[in-house]
């Protein structure tokens, strides 16, 4: 923070938020003394303070100065709006659209130069209970079933009201995306950990198929956007109501000193939709020390979580920050998210996954992300998934296959022996394993790992065979700000923070310990809409 901005701070008082930070610091040191054995509960409790401390370190201020900064209201605002949204992914744009539709004047801030965050590079799969594609395929599903799946994967750590809201409002939200936003969805996919095929995919198999129509719609309705503008601090009045934000205009990621300080007034509310922190190695290692720099991330480079920390500094409470998901389907043979996830996830339940050292299967291929990523990390080396031409060509989009073959992350072989030799897998052991797998496919039952075998799955026999190596990457941070089912943020005083809403990956609790594939999109759209609607209904403070 510059000297300029400090001169604008006129109010210095201890707010409930400040006291909360002080108290939490105290409770952490108590734990260190009292708890010889670090329990899971203790660890969860301490992460709040850890996040707050990390935030202090980031701003370069002492705790004392920072507390003063929390309470500072500028004399003059550089801009104002009714509802201020931070972030241009699914959640931010959904919030902006709903707030605008409710009559609010909406401004959206984005710290990066381009819109969309992780949403524009995601796979475009949207979990929707009871959707029309399921009906056409004769698949029975319900919101109740979706909640059950989410809770099972989440180890029952999901906040039930939040999980229920996502499942129950998923269908209506899909319809809103199609009818109001104008996005197009074309096919039904399966994701590991779901009990049925439930994920509806955008026509272009990318989140851009929803983000871009959302952005266009928001612009056409008169929502204002400001790019390269980074939120640095939430500003509260002496009663703790959030009244606006301090930003850096003209910010150039990742130069933290770039841009000029400015103040934006939010008359009704601020909606945080700033995403997770998978790319913040320091913060994610505080939460899960395993996830050091050796692990790449599927996320866009800006997924660094400063807005989340800024909210904690303003008194917001965080939850389950150490549940960080690694995608088990990324390839070490390509960068970023790549093409292999859409290869791997389309053929689980149709193809075996093996440990190249033994040639044997090692995990339920259709298991959830955590189960699979943990299993691969425990083996300590990349694993293999391979399918025959019948299953692969039925399940995998031609573009995915071609691009994967082109960049070398997916390889094609005329025989299984050739495949095994290429990856240095013991040939006889692998052939034996494939024969066993094929017998399970015939019987539609896997007695070993209980892999789901789909009705149209066929044995792995027809050449050519397609294979890819898999090694996990940090993908999603399940934890984040505590919200209620109205998307209101809770503070460390256990009360909702007036004027502050949050939606999407910046929040925690919806997914518990493990997020199921394609539920992020549902979470973002459902809670983005809730946040936007409710933010627009707040009484203006000035």
């Amino acid at each position: 923070m510059t000297g300029d901005s400090l001169t604008l701070i006129v109010l210095v008082s201890i707010t409930p938020a400040d006291r909360a930070i002080t108290r939490e610091e105290g409770s952490m040191s108590d734990e260190v003394v009292q708890e010889a054995e670090v329990t899971r509960r203790g660890f969860l409790k301490s992460t709040g303070a850890a996040a707050a401390l990390a935030g202090l370190a980031l701003t370069g201020l002492t705790a004392r100065e920072s507390q003063a900064a929390v309470a500072g209201i500028p004399k003059k605002w550089d801009a104002s709006c009714d509802v201020l949204v931070i972030g241009t992914g699914f959640a931010g744009l959904a919030a902006a659209l709903e707030a605008k539709s409710a009559g609010a004047e909406v401004l959206v801030l984005e710290k990066m130069r381009t819109h969309g965050g992780n949403s524009i590079i995601n796979g475009g799969d949207f979990a929707v209970a009871g959707n029309r594609f399921q009906k056409e395929a004769g698949i029975k599903d319900s919101a109740e079933q979706m909640v059950k799946d989410m809770m099972k994967a989440g180890g029952d750590l999901n906040h039930p009201a939040l999980a229920r809201a996502v499942a129950e409002q998923s269908l209506e939200s899909l319809e809103w995306c199609e009818k109001f936003v104008g996005a197009q969805f074309g096919r039904l996919n399966f994701h590991g950990g779901h009990s049925v095929k439930r994920s509806v995919q955008t026509e272009n198999a990318s989140g851009s198929g929803l983000v871009n129509p959302m952005l266009a719609k928001a612009k056409s309705l008169g929502v204002k956007f400001q790019f390269t503008t980074k939120m640095e601090r939430l500003i509260a009045d002496p009663q703790g109501r959030i009244v606006g934000v301090e930003v850096r205009k003209g910010y150039r990621f990742p130069d933290e000193k770039s841009g000029k300080v400015a103040f934006i007034k939010a008359r009704r509310a601020v909606v945080l939709a700033s995403g997770g922190f998978s790319q913040n190695v320091e913060l994610r290692q505080i939460q899960d020390p395993r996830l050091d720099g050796r692990f790449d991330s599927t996320n866009h480079s800006g997924a660094t979580g400063e807005a989340l920390l800024a909210a904690c500094l303003a008194g917001a409470m965080d939850v389950q920050m150490d549940w960080i998901q690694c995608g088990p389907w990324t390839s070490p043979d390509e960068k970023g998210f790549g093409h292999v996830p859409q290869f791997c996830e389309r053929i689980v339940g149709y193809a075996p996954m093996v440990d190249p050292v033994t040639g044997k299967r090692f995990i339920k291929e259709t298991g959830n992300r955590k189960v699979r990523a943990d299993a691969i990390m425990q083996l300590g080396h990349p694993v293999l998934i391979f399918g025959d031409t019948v299953n692969v060509n039925r399940q995998v989009l031609p573009e995915t296959l071609n691009k994967g073959l082109e960049n070398g992350s997916i390889r094609k072989f005329d025989t299984l022996e050739e495949l095994a030799r290429h990856y240095s897998v013991p040939v006889a052991a692998m052939l034996e394993e494939v024969a066993k797998w094929n017998s399970y496919v015939e019987k539609r039952k896997d007695p070993e790992f209980d892999c789901m075998i789909f009705a149209n799955s066929t044995p792995t026999v027809q050449a050519p065979f397609y294979a890819a190596r898999l090694w996990p990457r940090v993908h999603h941070t399940m934890g984040g700000l505590v919200i209620n089912d109205k998307a209101q943020v809770k503070g460390f005083n256990l009360k909702t923070m007036k004027g502050l809403y949050a939606a999407g990956e910046v929040t925690g609790g919806v997914h518990g310990a493990v997020r199921l594939g394609s539920v992020a999109m549902a979470d973002c759209v459902v809670f983005g809409r809730i946040a936007g609607r409710n933010a627009a209904q707040e009484k203006p403070w000035g």
């Binding site: 130069r113 272009n204 851009s208 871009n212 960068k335 970023g336 691009k403 082109e406 960049n407």
Partner: protein, 170 residues
């Protein structure tokens, strides 16, 4: 190696490093909006920006540069001459893109689009493998030119954050 020699050698190399860092630390050139494109001194001052034996710029235009600096050849200016200079040499003064406002703002994407029509651009690069740089599944043809093509700084492969396309940028 004698001790003296060794010291001399060390001194020599550190002197070289000092000289290099001094050159690197040279103040960023001024941006004089009215400067003629061939008047290097207006912005760069005494800093020597062209090789000593470079022909006099006189009234050179971008087309004249390209008589020697052939596109796609080692002599190409791609990656060597900032794009703002190419624009200037092609007759686009600062004001033509930035306008005449006293407080200058970065140029909006729509200004670029006025000359560089995105759909057409995507067509001209449609044969580039493994990916056409001017259209993508994520942004279609709507990605801001400045995501890759910077005018006053070295251009960057924006897609390179997640992909290995290894685009060569002008």
């Amino acid at each position: 190696m004698s001790r003296t020699n060794h010291i001399m050698k060390c001194l020599g190399s550190s002197a070289l490093v000092l000289a290099l860092s001094a050159a690197g630390a040279q103040a960023a050139p001024k941006r004089v909006s009215g400067a003629k494109p061939v008047n290097c001194v207006a912005c760069h001052g005494k800093e020597q920006v062209l090789p000593a034996d470079h022909p006099k710029l006189a009234n050179m235009k971008l087309a004249s540069c390209r008589e020697c600096h052939v596109k796609g050849d080692v002599s190409s200016l791609d990656g060597k001459l900032p794009l703002s200079h190419k624009h200037l040499l092609a007759g686009l003064t600062c004001a033509k893109c930035h306008g005449k406002a006293k407080k200058q703002e970065p140029v909006d994407f729509q200004v670029c689009v006025g000359c560089h029509e995105p759909e057409k651009l995507a067509q001209t690069t449609s044969a580039v493998r493994p990916q056409n740089p001017h259209t993508s599944r994520h942004y279609g043809t709507a990605l801001d030119c400045n995501a890759c093509h910077h005018q006053h700084a070295k251009s960057e492969d924006f897609c390179g954050q997640c992909h290995k396309f290894q685009f060569k940028l002008p």
